[in-house]
């Protein structure tokens, strides 16, 4: 098959118009009733919720932990953690918002997506490490009467950590592939 055959084959394609019309009809309905959203829109919505939850955790932490009579250091460390995570979520939200599939070129879009995925990956790792430290402090205070809580916490941490590590490895592999695509695109 030579290039001319390829071109003829490409141009001879005849999409099943009847199937497409039915698909388009359903698509229009779903877009109008907002039941269909792009992945970007869903991600923006997720981060809006994460931001709200993070901010709500600040007063919740202060109020609930004062009942437990925890050390002020533990309480304010947790508050600082939730505030830091809220700032991180705002940052990621704007990175996602900045992605425009319709107006950015392919190379530009790839670069932004790589940047977004890399930042999300690093923030997740950082938040997990910080979270482990914070939870350890928390468990130290509440487990003084009941050490079984520590054991439960450690088991939960190990299982969660293993699942998280596997997921992060997949994400790293995806980022590497995207970087390779971009290098490939930008090379002469």
């Amino acid at each position: 098959m030579d290039i001319d055959d390829l071109k003829r084959a490409w141009q001879s394609q005849n999409m099943r118009i009847d199937k497409l019309e039915e698909q388009n009809k359903q698509l229009k309905e779903r877009l109008l009733d907002k039941s269909l959203k792009s992945n970007r829109a869903k991600l923006l919505s997720t981060y809006r919720w994460l931001l709200l939850i993070g901010l709500l955790m600040v007063p919740f932490t202060i109020v609930s932990f004062s009942h437990l009579e925890l050390s002020p250091i533990a309480v304010w460390t947790m508050v600082a953690y939730f505030l830091l995570m809220s700032v991180a979520n705002v940052y990621v939200y704007y990175l996602i918002y900045d992605i425009d599939m319709t107006n950015h070129s392919v190379c530009d879009n790839l670069q932004r997506v790589i940047n977004l995925q890399l930042k999300r990956h690093r923030i997740r790792i950082g938040s997990c490490i910080l979270g482990i430290v914070i939870i350890s402090i928390f468990f130290y205070y509440i487990s003084q009467d009941d050490p079984s809580l520590v054991i439960g916490g450690i088991i939960g941490g190990i299982v969660g950590g293993l699942i998280g590590l596997r997921k992060e490895r997949e994400i790293k592999a995806m980022i590497s592939s995207m970087k390779k695509d971009l290098e490939d695109a930008l090379s002469e």
Binding site: I3, L6, A9, L27, N39, M101, N103
Partner: protein, 155 residues
């Protein structure tokens, strides 16, 4: 809404072809088509008319497909027997179509984008506009991709 309906009716087949190039099964292609159109729907507000509508749509679809392609970790080439169920105008071309998809699926995501636009007779300037690559780079990359395809076809 009127513009979107025009896009669906006139450019739906073009968007479908792009999605067929990046999806490996019918469900994935449908998902890609929906994702492309959802991005187009959202992006219509910012369509300034600086470029042709077909060029703008190509950019939206290729960006959507390349992003989804890596996220779905699709690595395998399209098996011959699962080539997309689209008809050729002429039945004798059906095998050519399958062969075409088999060859193009062995290219990288960006190479597929380049060759697709070339096959659709887009100018080098339009391809450069969509991809963000300099015009000369587009020309030299296309030369290499065509040579690669001929090589793959002969092997």
């Amino acid at each position: 809404m009127q513009l979107f309906e025009t896009i669906l009716s006139q450019y739906g087949p073009m968007v479908s072809k792009v999605c067929y190039m990046y999806g490996t099964d019918e469900d994935q292609r449908k998902d890609l088509y929906q994702e492309c159109m959802a991005n187009v729907w959202q992006g219509l507000r910012s369509f300034r008319g600086d470029s042709k509508l077909s060029t703008w749509l190509y950019r939206a679809c290729i960006n959507t497909c390349i992003t989804a392609y890596r996220r779905n970790a699709v690595r395998a080439t399209v098996p011959l027997d699962s080539a997309p169920p689209i008809a050729a105008d002429d039945n004798s071309r059906s095998d050519d179509l399958k062969e075409m998809y088999r060859l193009i699926s062995q290219l990288s995501p960006v190479e597929r984008a380049l060759i697709m636009m070339w096959l659709d007779e887009k100018s080098y300037d339009e391809i450069s506009d969509v991809t963000g690559m300099p015009r000369n780079t587009v020309a030299s990359r296309l030369r290499r991709i065509k040579a690669k395809l001929v090589d793959l076809a002969n092997n």
